[in-house]
Amino acid sequence: MAILVVAEHDQHKLRPATLCVVTAAMRIGGEITLLVAGKDCSAVAQAAARVPGVKRVLHADAPHYEHGLAEDLAPLIVRAAASMTHVLAPATTFGKNVLPRVAALLDVAQISDVMRVESADTFVRPIYAGNALATVQSSDAIKVLTVRATGFDAAPDAGGNAAVEALEAAPPSGLSTFERQELTKSERPELTAAKIIVSGGRGVGSAENFKIIDALADRLGAAVGASRAAVDAGFVPNDYQVGQTGKIVAPDLYIAIGISGAIQHLAGMKDSKVIVAINKDPEAPIFEVADYGLVADLFQAVPELTAALDKPA
């Protein structure tokens, strides 16, 4: 088995999801090659070489790889995949964008959102917003998979000593160009890597009111998430959205505030270890999945909770 893992990074550091994909690759078993493509990203290639279990790092450096454009990356990945049995990438917007393009160029199927490896050709993935789990088997020569980070622990980021090889860049496709990005700046942990998440929904009522969610999150060192309703209403940016088509999270503690619990939202957070729901509607479906439910007015309960955390146990 020869497994290519497409690394996601920001030109400086590997994204945590990449380390979860390495763990998935180890479950499949075989020789693991990490592909690091970017611009001036040799620090990432070096970091990738330190991940235990990685045998080899392919480093492709060119200006047109800076923004992870699928049209440019896909032919490079296809070239690197020629001698591989598997190609893996995280099921993030990066991986979801580029990997199906790779699969089509290889004329193979893709298996999306793999959450469990059963064998080298059989994988478990959620369908219908996670209301069913399909066990699927691939007969293709190269298995192309996006991997759900919540399904696999992160591999350690030190202790390994892989060889780094330069991979020649392909010419730019010229099909698409990056213009700009507006990334949400936050001191808080990344949503998909946070141990605690405090999420707000429609019940929070406004962008201004989200401050009470922020205050609780900051007290807990937590990330802030949101339901689709809160994002659609403009309370918070799109990258806060947790759910079937947003981010999939599984923190140790998920606190859902003013969130009714539509199946699309539950799909994104029901694998959290402990779920707390605060909602004034005792019939809200969120209570069906919550370990602890508090039927209360969030505008009283949340500040009270924030204050209570300052008191010693």
Binding site: D107, N131, L133, Q181, N238, K273, F287, G293, V295
Partner: protein, 249 residues
């Protein structure tokens, strides 16, 4: 500009699906079906581009069984000009569908293909990207804004860190995210009018497209049910339990 809008018929978004007792799939008998919500957004975006004078013709296309004519009629009622059904009785998977759409694109020669980023049944999120690969076109996935611009199409994408704006050369493939637009409701007179709009049915076999599934579903299981918890009476009670029972804070 001519726009092709591929759409999919799926279980209605409000239906809570159940896994079949023989674990071969989910129960679809007598279940309400509808156009995939992301596909509705794609149809709406094409219509808005047409209303803004940026598009001349909108062609809706679906790959699937004869029942897919229902959602094609809905697309026509929303405002698409004509529709094509690539009819097949077998199971459809993204690569096969992308190949069928590639064939339709070769016939219709659209400047832009807009489709949903994922279908809410299989949750694959693949077809648009695969189609762009097969055609060798630019792709703007998870779009929250689409603008005609000099030299192509400007697409704002919802990415994990926030938003990203790309300039795509045309022809291109765009996949829709939730916040691109809010699809219109279909009015009764438009449903009547849609009955007279052309809907062409092509047999997948006649197009020479290989729709053979590449993935075999061995079984479909219910996810482990989350055991419902308890209602706590007060904030101090909650804090106590989080600290002492679960030890998560």
């Amino acid at each position: 500009m001519k726009i092709l809008v591929p759409i999919k018929r799926v279980v209605d978004a409000n239906v809570r699906v159940r896994v079949k007792s023989d674990r071969t799939g989910v129960e679809l008998a007598n279940i309400k079906m509808a156009m995939n919500p992301f596909c509705e957004i794609a149809v709406e975006e094409a219509i808005r581009l047409q209303e803004a004078g940026a598009a001349k013709e909108i062609v809706a296309v679906s790959v699937g069984g004869p029942q897919c004519q229902d959602i094609l009629r809905t697309a026509l009622a929303m405002g698409a000009d004509r529709a094509i059904l690539v009819e097949t009785d077998g199971e459809t998977q993204p690569l096969g569908v992308a190949k069928a759409l590639q064939t339709i694109a070769a016939r219709e020669k659209p400047d832009l293909i807009i489709l949903g980023k994922q279908a809410i049944d299989d949750d694959n999120n693949q077809t648009g990207q695969m189609l762009a690969a097969l055609l060798g076109w630019a792709q703007g996935t998870f779009a929250s804004k689409v603008e005609r611009a000099e030299g192509g199409l400007r697409v704002t994408r919802e990415v994990d860190g926030g938003l990203e704006t790309l300039m795509l050369k045309l022809p291109a493939v765009v996949t829709t995210d939730l916040r691109l637009n809010e699809p219109r409701y279909v009015k009764l007179p438009n449903i009547m009018k849609a009955r007279k709009k052309p809907l062409e049915v092509l047999k997948a076999a006649d197009l020479g497209v290989d729709l053979t599934p590449r993935l075999k579903v061995l079984k479909v299981d219910e996810p482990a049910a989350r055991v419902g918890g308890i209602k706590v009476e007060s904030v101090p009670d909650l804090v106590h339990r989080l600290r002492n029972e679960k030890k998560v804070i």
